[in-house]
Amino acid sequence: MNLIGFENYLWLGSALFCIGLLGVLVRRNVIILLMCIELMLNASNLLLVVFAKMFGNMNGHIFVFFSMLVAAAEVSVGLALIVLIYRKFRTIDSSFLDKLKG
């Protein structure tokens, strides 16, 4: 029995993704929100790599590469924004950040 079956990776990736989602939903600290988003991104990265191997095709790796790239950019801008918000409101609690109220 080969445990490194692709199904197992699917379970793993999905679980990881859902953990990230749970984190996004329950935490209030915006930084942790961002981290949980990283978790979800990583889950998808993992699956991309899995599929790449499955099909013997390196395109998946390229996508992971780009995904990381975007994640890096996102984090840098996101963190800058968080710093800005923190300076302005002295809080990074997402429950209080409702200035976009319609």
């Binding site: 989602l21 996004v24 939903l25 209030r28 997402s94 429950s95 950040l97 409702d98 200035k99 976009l100 109220k101 319609g102």
Partner: protein, 641 residues
């Protein structure tokens, strides 16, 4: 042909000259206006001769409108009836124009006045000469318009304006009836030409007389004639549309004489006579006319009994006399009605002009309680007014005697009760006319000192028409003497008129009364006049000032307030209409239509408000929505794909 054109165009040219010339013409305008009408009168006389020699003829001018199968020509129909009316209109019109030269000489708007009068003569001629309903309608509305203009002649007075508007609108109610009648005619007969309609009706009458089914159902005729009669009601001031006529006395007195006594108000009679064949086919309408006419006659006379304004009394008297004419029409005595129309035109014009002369002498005073004893001051006016009074109360051998007697005779023939009512109406007429005469001319003067000093006889331009009209009032009866006096061929006017299409179609009412019965009826009338006349003369002659001025009670108070009909109408029609207008504007417009408009925007707004709750600006909620959405899409994809 050319005569008819001149006849029509002459007043309109006079109108245009006077209107455009305006104030520049000054007193010349009176002469121009009079000349215009006089030319028409000459034409009318010449046309009369032509009709005598060659019979009726048609004058087509141009096509006014041609719609599918209906041809509406602008054509004049000159026959015995229209010639007769034409003569009355232009004849009396000329006299009243002459009178107006004197009467209006002090007024600044004299040019405008004569312009309107000429326009009126034009419209009235259109009315009686029109060969089809539309031409008649044009004249019909035209005279209404002129009446409006002339009642409101002194336009600075708001009350006069109200009276004018009331007259126009009440006339319009009648006009609507007439218009609907015209539509019904078009729908039923496919034509609105009088001659064609009359020939259809004549055919139908003949068929029905011979026991056959006829061309059209009786109810169609009833509907048409009722609609036409509503028109006549408005124009001829019959119950319930009579209240405008007394108010119309706001206009200058010559106007009251010409329009509101002699000519315009008789248009209703003319309309019925013109379409007598149709009315003959609708017995219900005839009965209706009879009832309305009788009620109007008595009501008008009763109100006249309690009025103190000399012109108001005469106005109610006109209403009453018109009612009597309609009663005659109701029993099918068309020529009798026309006869009374003619004599009435003479003596009522005379009375109005006499009243105008009195008012002129009294410097505008119209209340008879402030007059009295004018007998010796203005002799000519007194004389002619007395002749007019005698004529209207039907003193023997005056014109009114013959015409009224003829109607009473026909009524007696028809039904005793109707005759009784008519006699009662005539009796009241005697009382109030003698009252007016007595209070105005005999006794002692009750006016102010200033007025007494100012008393003077009117200028000759005013007294000349009075004299002519007085002569006509005395001898007008010659036109249509009863059998008793003149024998079989004496009823010249009846014979003359019976040649017109609509009356030709009607089988003659044969049953004449016996001579003894006729003499009986005449005697009754004479006795009535003598007894009531002298009684009321002495009663009113002896009345002291205190008696005159004491406040009225009970029935006479009601009479003085015209039985509160105006107030009734005001509460019954005007106020609800105003309330309806306000209801439309403030409720339907603001609470119903606008909410539909704003409602749609409000719905969008409130939906937005509802969705706003979701859009609370908190990122967590958005995330939850997003996740739920994702879950839903995934699960749905399971089932769908």
């Amino acid at each position: 042909m050319i005569l008819a054109k001149i006849l029509i165009l002459s007043p309109i040219i006079g109108f245009l000259i006077n209107l455009i010339g305006g104030k520049k013409l000054g007193k010349v305008s009176g002469i121009i206006g009079t000349a215009a009408v006089f030319i028409s009168f000459i034409c009318a006389l010449l046309m009369y001769r032509k009709v005598v020699s060659t019979g009726a003829y048609d004058v087509p001018l141009f096509t006014w409108m041609h719609i599918s199968t209906i041809h509406i020509g602008f054509n004049l129909w000159v026959d015995e009836l229209s010639t007769w009316m034409m003569l009355i209109i232009t004849g009396i019109g000329t006299l009243i124009h002459i009178y107006s030269i004197g009467y209006m000489s002090h007024d600044k708007g004299i040019g405008r006045f004569f312009a309107y009068l000429n326009l009126f003569i034009f419209s009235m001629l259109m009315l009686v000469l029109g060969g089809n309903f539309i031409m008649l309608f044009i004249g019909w509305e035209g005279v209404g318009l002129c009446s409006y203009l002339l009642i409101g002649f002194w336009f600075k007075n708001v009350d006069y304006g109200h009276a004018a508007r009331k007259a126009f609108i009440m006339n319009r109610i009648g006009d609507l009836g007439l218009l609907l009648g015209i539509f019904l005619c078009i729908q039923t007969f496919g034509t609105i030409n009088f001659n064609e309609i009359n020939s259809i009706a004549a055919e139908d009458l003949a068929l029905k007389a011979s026991g056959q089914l006829g061309l059209f159902q009786p109810y169609i005729y009833t509907a048409i004639t009722l609609c036409l009669f509503i028109g006549a009601m408005g124009k001829s001031a019959q119950l319930p549309l009579y209240t405008w006529l007394p108010d119309a006395m706001a206009g200058p007195t010559p106007v009251s004489a010409l329009i509101h006594a002699a000519t315009m108000v008789t248009a209703g009679i003319y309309l019925v006579v013109r379409n007598a064949a149709l009315f003959e086919l609708a017995p219900f309408t005839l009965d209706f006319i009879l009832v309305i006419g009788m009620a109007t006659s008595i009501l008008g006379a009763l109100i006249g009994l309690f009025q103190n304004d000399i012109k108001k009394v005469l106005a109610y008297s006109t209403v009453s006399q018109l009612g009597l004419m309609f009663v005659a029409l109701g029993v099918g005595a068309y020529t009798s009605a026309m006869f009374h129309l003619t004599t009435h035109a003479f003596f009522k014009a005379l009375l109005f002009l006499g009243a105008g002369s009195v008012i002129h002498a009294m410097s505008g005073e119209q209340n008879i309680l402030s007059m009295g004893g004018l007998k010796n001051k203005i002799k000519l006016t007194h004389l002619t007014f007395a002749i007019g009074t005698l004529a209207i109360i039907g003193a023997p051998l005056m014109s009114g005697f013959f015409s009224k007697d003829e109607i009473l005779e026909k009524l007696y023939n028809h039904s005793l009760i109707i005759w009784g009512f008519a006699l009662a109406s005539a009796a009241i007429t005697i009382i109030y006319m003698v009252r007016v005469y007595t209070l105005t001319f005999s006794g002692k003067f009750r006016g102010t000192k200033e007025q007494e000093d100012h008393l003077h006889e009117s200028p000759s331009s005013m007294t000349l028409p009075l004299i002519i009209l007085a002569i006509l009032s005395i001898f007008g009866g010659v036109l249509n003497l009863p059998h008793l006096i003149g024998g079989g061929s004496s009823q010249k006017m009846g014979l003359w008129l019976s040649k017109i299409n609509s009356l030709k179609a009607i089988p003659a009412h044969v049953s004449h009364l016996s001579h003894s019965m006729e003499i009986m009826l005449m005697l009754i009338a004479t006795v009535l006049v003598v007894i009531l006349g002298s009684l009321s003369y002495f009663k009113y002659n002896k009345q002291t000032d205190a008696e005159l001025n004491q406040p009225r009670l009970g029935f006479s108070l009601w009479g003085e307030h015209k039985f509160y009909v105006d107030e009734l109408y005001h509460n019954l029609f005007v106020k609800p209409l105003e309330a309806l207008a306000d209801f439309f504007f403030y409720y339907i417009e603001h609470c119903f239509i606008q909410p539909i408009t704003f409602g749609s925007s409000r719905i969008a707004y409130s939906v937005g408000q509802l969705l706003r709750i979701i859009q609370n600006g908190n990122i967590e909620y958005y995330l939850v929505y997003l996740s739920i959405g994702a879950v839903l899409v995934l699960s749905l994809s399971m089932f769908v794909f």
